[in-house]
């Protein structure tokens, strides 16, 4: 896993989240994950292909997902994580990942992204393409979103 993949994703997050109503964006811990991503309750997976292959798993708790969706919808109360807040979260993931893809392209790597798959449940995990992957914690107004980057450049294969 190449450390060059980190900044475009963080920068995308920093650019998009303020547009969705978040004032304070912080980067938390950066670490290496292995084997699988243990879900916090809501995990959104988005695939990439072309010069970069793999997937990014966005991980958050259901409470966080509801708070984020509420902010995105202008403070509308969200008491249940149903269709509308779910589509808000998918949209957030789509926007951040699409913005990252543009940044990867600026670095000379063409990237196509798939639609995001939003998964809700408990006691489940996601496996990405590689055994080892990058874990980036991001905080939007104190709400933790964990980004798990399982990417490799296609040439490296």
């Amino acid at each position: 896993m190449d450390a060059r993949f980190i900044n475009p994703v963080i920068d995308a997050f920093r650019e998009i989240l303020p547009q969705l109503g978040f004032a304070d964006i912080q980067r938390g811990k950066l670490s290496m994950g292995s084997n699988s991503v243990e879900s916090f309750g809501v995990t959104v997976i988005i695939g990439m292909t072309k010069d970069l292959r793999g997937s990014v798993a966005y991980n958050m708790s259901e409470a966080t997902a509801m708070t984020i969706a509420s902010t995105m919808m202008g403070g509308m109360p969200v008491n249940q994580f149903d269709e509308l807040p779910q589509s808000a979260i998918s949209e957030l993931v789509n926007m951040v990942t699409a913005n990252s893809a543009i940044r990867f392209e600026q670095m000379g790597m063409q990237v196509d992204i798939s639609p995001p798959s939003l998964v809700v449940g408990n006691d489940f995990r996601a496996r990405l393409l590689q055994e080892k992957f990058l874990v980036i914690e991001m905080l939007a107004d104190g709400n933790l979103i964990q980004l798990n980057l399982g990417l490799e450049s296609a040439q490296a294969k």
Binding site: G47, M48, S55, S114, V119, G121, L129
Partner: protein
């Protein structure tokens, strides 16, 4: 979801009445009626319907001329011809105008609804057909070949459960390129382990079961999508690597505005579900 708004252009009060009686439901509404070609053109540009159901034989101009005049000013107009007359000359004229949808009266409601749905969709019928048919075929071939048995039955549904509740393990493959979508393969831990065990010819570990699911998804999608790309002109789909999910309780939400087909394979070692989705944009 917003209803699909339909304008009917047909000089027969009987045909108008039949369509008005059979079509409206929670997905469709008739937003206008026109009894001549000229009225059809005028109403089209006032009402701006999602789709037009067009008769051919009308007093002032035929339905194809009426369609031509609409398409001249709005090339994105969606027109379904519904006519008692249907021959090679008429279908060729329609095709030359860019109209793909030509049904002969009497048409069943099911046939009409399916056609309207495809007409308003932004996915061309041949792309969606190639996508789902080739994936389905590749899934059936792969399951039968790798289990070395014909004792499998396959059933399909176009209205699957939302969300998709996993039985234990699922592999998700993203579709990118000229269209976006995804393919999900789902099975229980036991079924996935039995499958992997059969392929490896030994008792399968939980990791083997996961790897086996990724293998099925990769092969089925790789084969199915490359065949679909060859068949459907202008379609160029690519697949992302498989992501795997496994756990006690997990559910995957449906994509918005998508076409979907799920196929369930009932096999001697358990059932596998393949969900194929394609977005409209």
């Amino acid at each position: 979801m917003r209803k699909t708004r339909i304008l009917i252009v047909d000089d027969s009060p009987f045909s108008q009445a039949v369509l008005q009686k059979t079509l409206p439901d929670n997905a469709f509404e008739i937003c206008g009626l026109a009894s001549s070609g000229l009225e059809g053109i005028q109403k089209y540009f006032v009402i701006k319907p999602d789709v037009v159901i067009m008769d051919i034989t009308m007093p002032d101009m035929d339905g194809l001329e009426c369609s031509r005049q609409i398409l001249l000013r709005d090339s994105a107009a969606r027109i379904v011809i519904l006519s008692s007359m249907k021959d090679d000359t008429l279908t060729t004229r329609a095709r030359l105008l860019g109209i793909r949808w030509f049904l002969q009266k009497p048409s069943t409601r099911e046939e009409l609804v399916r056609t309207i749905k495809m007409a308003v969709s932004r996915i061309a019928l041949e792309w969606w057909s190639a996508y789902q048919e080739q994936l389905q075929l590749s899934f059936e071939e792969y399951i039968k070949t790798s289990l070395a048995t014909e004792a499998c039955s396959f059933s399909s549904s176009t209205e699957p459960a939302d969300p998709l509740e996993s039985k234990g393990i699922c592999a998700i493959i993203g579709i990118t390129g000229s269209h976006s979508g995804r393919v999900i393969l789902d099975a229980s831990h036991q079924t996935a382990a039995k499958f992997a065990g059969k392929l490896l010819d030994r008792a399968a570990s939980p990791d083997d079961a996961l790897a086996g699911m990724a293998e099925i998804a990769n092969v089925v999608c790789g084969r199915g999508i490359s065949r679909a790309n060859r068949i459907a002109k202008g379609m160029d789909l690519r697949i992302t690597p498989a992501s795997l999910l496994e756990g006690k309780k997990l559910a995957i939400s449906n994509l918005p505005n998508h076409h979907v087909l799920t196929v369930t394979a009932d096999t001697p070692i358990g059932s596998f579900l393949l969900s194929m989705e394609m977005l409209e944009e």
